[in-house]
């Protein structure tokens, strides 16, 4: 059949599902922002950790990031995709039932996360903390979403896919690949597991995932939303079709390579680091392609910037996007990373994107959609303007204070005096210096949250005034069978080919970077001069992961003079080869711990964990007093060690069979040491002993211990 003109058909869109996702988005945005604000305040004022295990910074931060990414941004994406896809394809969603399963399944996942993260169930991998049952649920729900989305494409009444849909496709395909590969793990209990990846391998997979979560969860879907809602709201044609083609493929192909820029100066092989850096730099122009295509679409409509809050939010969002995607490549340059990495600069960078780009674009979408979905007018444009300025001020305050904090601290860490000594050998000195900036950041967060609450009120009043809620019905012409066109235009009519091409585009970089590291890993494992952790140390390590120590501490000494002087010889690939998961960290709110073993007596650690202020007066680290009360889980150790053995950690069968007994023996001797040094008695069954055993093992696992007064640098 090849008729170009067909008759008009009536379509009723499913707007109920959009309303649901939108409201869920707003509820969880509130949770995410409030958790973020509390976490920010905890860094400025440690007593807010309140010595409550489930509320300490180490557990709260993952809750905040997961809520912001998957609950707030996730629901925003789904709302926008369900709304725009139906209209761009002139059809109702493929299956209302799948839509409902997707909605309720996703909210259930969020609830499970909101319960399990504060309880300390964590995989210890950033933005992938959720444990294996939830990982499986995410996979299933994502597949449901994909079936529903591609099903809708299959029944479309519009042959060609608009650019927004390209971005949705890339998102759905890539997130599936990232999530599955990064979450391959072996359970050792109904809620715990170890990843199959270890050390440098895990680091690379994790940051390939982590970076591309930013790319394909926080960038591509939002670009898709921008391509739909911006021209709709401004009622202007998109600036350049050609540009959208080039920057789409540029982004999809290049983004996937950039992960290693999170691992510059680590023990990741240098060629991979360099690849990460250069691809990040090449990402600059494709990213800006999206920004300029959006901004130039507003040519001739700039007056709206004054009158229309939606346009205001969108322009600010695009500007923040442009800023963040310029700063990203900048931070990927090795010498800039040397200063910025592990500092709050990165936190500032992320929030320019998260608050400015994702936040403001979502708000614009909400202001656009709510009146449409509830068939009424927005209650107050003035309040929307108030929201805009509060939010804007909040972001600026947040960003400026964090960049200042990051650069200040980064330079202090690196400062070396004329006599070849560190100028600030005391780590806590560099923390105290930036605490005022932590207050400024929290104030920025409070502004942002305040603005959001104004929006909630505005939306509430708008909805309250609505008298009619129904699904939109339109009469559309079926253009499914119009001529295919040539070149890219033809491709836009072929869903399967298009999807497979995007898949290939993201697989190229993935395979080239990851595969060699995997094989390298099995090679090192054979020759590694490293002893695995003892069972008690494993128990301690699991406590370290549970408490989220990795959100404040790195375990990776970079090959730079200032680091070597402060922490000792650079970390090597071998040292973390048995680390399932790796714990290199990404932020040093506290000092690096890769070689903290034997640096202090056991009693020092005991006192420090119970009350850091008792040994380091100005410390901002939370107190972990419950570790003195809670009992070590010796029983599960056999299971844990056996899982690790199956993953290739060289434990003997006896070590597996005797794991709990070996651990109890070691615990006795550590407890004795604490007592001998003047500490309390009878701690052998307490978690603190396991944790101390682990801390004392850090950097001490080489079979031939390295001389402590000498730096070893590999050729």
């Amino acid at each position: 059949m090849n008729e170009t003109i067909s008759r008009l058909e009536e379509v009723t869109y499913d707007d109920a599902i959009v309303r649901k996702f939108l409201l869920a988005c707003m509820v969880f945005a509130g949770v995410a922002f409030a958790a973020g604000l509390l976490a920010a305040l905890q860094l400025a004022f440690f007593p807010l950790n309140m010595e409550l295990p489930w509320l300490t910074f180490g557990r709260l931060r993952p809750l905040h990031t997961n809520a912001a990414i998957f609950a707030f941004a996730g629901n925003a994406i789904f709302a926008g995709i369900y709304h725009s896809t139906q209209r761009l394809l002139k059809t109702r969603m493929y299956s209302d039932r799948l839509s409902a399963i997707h909605f309720w399944g996703w909210q259930l996942i969020i609830v499970a996360a909101a319960i399990s993260l504060p309880l300390g169930f964590s995989q210890g991998k950033e933005y992938a903390e959720l444990e294996w049952p939830i990982d499986i649920a995410i996979t299933l729900i994502w597949v449901i979403f994909a079936v529903n989305f591609f099903g809708t494409l299959a029944i479309r009444r519009e042959k060609h896919m608009y650019v927004a849909l390209w971005f949705y496709i890339a998102t759905i395909v890539t997130v599936a690949v990232l999530h599955i590969v990064n979450s391959i793990e072996i359970p050792w209990s109904y809620m715990n597991s170890y990843p199959v990846w270890a050390g440098v391998q895990d680091a690379l997979v994790q940051w390939w995932y982590g970076h591309n979560a930013v790319a394909f969860f926080l960038t591509t879907p939002f670009l898709g939303l921008m391509y739909y809602y911006l021209p709709k709201a401004a009622n202007r044609p998109v600036y350049s079709y050609r540009l959208s083609i080039i920057h789409f493929w540029g982004l999809v192909f290049i983004y996937i390579w950039a992960g290693p820029h999170h691992l510059l100066y680590t023990s990741l092989p240098e060629w991979a680091q360099t690849l990460g850096m250069i691809f990040s730099i090449m990402l600059w122009a494709p990213s800006w392609g999206g920004m300029i295509n959006g901004l130039l679409t507003l040519r001739g409509a700039w007056h709206l910037l004054r009158t229309d809050p939606i346009i205001k939010f969108m322009v600010a969002a695009l500007t923040f996007y442009g800023m963040a995607t310029f700063e990203g490549p900048l931070l990927s340059i090795k010498s800039v990373s040397a200063i910025g990495h592990y500092t709050d600069w990165i936190v500032g960078h992320v929030h320019a994107g998260a608050l400015g780009w994702n936040g403001f674009l979502s708000f614009a979408m909400i202001y656009y959609l709510v009146p449409k979905l509830w068939k009424t007018k927005l209650y107050s444009d003035r309040l929307a303007n108030v929201h805009f300025w509060l939010g804007f001020l909040g972001i600026v305050l947040y960003y400026v204070s964090m960049v200042a904090a990051g650069i200040t601290q980064g330079l202090m860490w690196k400062a070396i005096g004329p006599e070849g000594q560190l100028v600030y050998p005391d780590f806590v000195e560099t923390v105290v210096r930036i605490v005022p900036l932590y207050w400024a950041r929290a104030l920025g967060g409070a502004f942002f949250l305040g603005g959001f609450m104004v929006m909630c009120y505005n939306v509430y009043r708008t909805i309250a005034a609505s008298t009619e809620v129904s699904n939109e019905t339109v009469r559309v012409r079926n253009t499914r069978y119009s001529s295919a066109g040539e070149g890219h235009r033809a491709l836009e009519g072929m869903v399967t080919v298009f999807s497979v091409l995007s898949l290939i585009a993201i697989l190229v970089g993935s395979v080239i970077e990851i595969y060699p590291t995997l094989s390298l890993h099995s090679y090192i494992a054979k020759t590694a001069n490293i002893d695995p952790y003892s069972p008690l140390e494993i128990a301690g390590r699991d406590i370290y992961i549970r408490e989220g120590c990795y959100v404040c501490h790195s375990q990776q000494i970079r090959p730079m003079v200032s680091e070597v002087l402060r922490y000792g010889s650079p970390s090597t690939m071998e040292e973390s080869i048995y680390d399932h998961p790796f714990q290199w960290g990404s932020k040093r709110t506290g000092p690096d711990l890769a070689r903290v073993g034997k640096k202090y007596p056991d009693l020092w650690h005991f006192r420090h964990m119970v009350d850091p202020r008792s040994v380091v007066e100005k410390s901002i680290m939370p107190s972990y007093s419950w570790l003195v009360k809670d009992k070590t889980d010796f029983l599960s150790l056999r299971k844990k060690v056996s899982v690790l053995r199956n993953l290739g950690v060289p434990y003997s069968p006896e070590q597996v069979a005797q794991a709990d007994r070996l651990a109890e023996e070691q615990a006795k001797s550590v407890a004795q040491a604490i007592h001998d040094q003047g500490g309390p008695e009878g701690l052998e069954r307490r978690e603190i002993v396991a944790l101390i055993a682990y801390l004392q093992a850090l950097g001490q696992k080489e079979k031939q211990p390295r001389p402590t007064d000498q730096v070893t640098v590999k050729e």
Binding site: E270, T274, I281, E419, Q421, V561, K599
Partner: protein, 180 residues
């Protein structure tokens, strides 16, 4: 204007802005050259750079020389209130966590009594221990951390507290030395 339209959205087909295209090409060329330079041998590796930097530090250290702590010079400092004050500040900031605010001993030993684990309790002995530490016993080495003057000051401060009999002393550790 492209001839298609999606839900009322139309598309223009403006050419790519030149500056944008040049930026894109520029970054690609830079990326290629950078990789070639650093990964095919001509540029230094990170570890080579580190070694060069470490050599500079070693040279600075050599120039500084290892200070030999002389008993007589330290003795002279005992009379200086300024030095004692500085020593107190250093001690409270860095040592009190382990030795207690009154030097009574907590994790590390009491430093006011006549019992010493290392050396004879003389000024020079103490300065040496402070510099080198006893790493395996949990006394950190302070050499790279404290300046020479600070080591002297804290040493003098410790000796000035000799016999102060603080409350809650950890009790004697080591050999009793009948020193000067």
């Amino acid at each position: 204007m492209e001839d298609h339209e999606y839900d009322g959205i139309q598309e223009l087909d403006n050419p790519l802005p030149n500056w944008w295209l040049l930026t894109f090409l520029g970054t690609i060329i830079f990326a290629y050259l950078y990789y070639l330079h650093y990964e095919s041998g001509s540029g230094p590796t990170i570890n080579q750079e580190l070694k060069a930097d470490l050599a500079v530090i070693e040279a600075a250290k050599a120039k500084r020389g290892t200070k030999s702590d002389s008993e007589e010079e330290l003795q002279k400092l005992l009379a200086s209130a300024a030095v004692l004050n500085e020593g107190k500040a250093v001690f409270q900031g860095k040592c009190a966590a382990c030795h207690g605010a009154d030097l009574q001993g907590v994790i590390g030993p009491d430093l006011t009594d006549d019992y010493w684990l290392h050396g004879q309790g003389k000024l020079a002995d103490i300065a040496t221990i402070v510099r080198k530490g006893v790493v395996e016993k949990g006394m950190p080495p302070w050499d790279g951390q404290l300046k020479d003057a600070e080591v002297s000051a804290v040493t003098v401060y410790i000796v000035s507290k000799r016999g102060s009999h603080p409350a809650n002393s950890k009790g004697p550790q080591g050999e009793k030395i009948v020193s000067n």
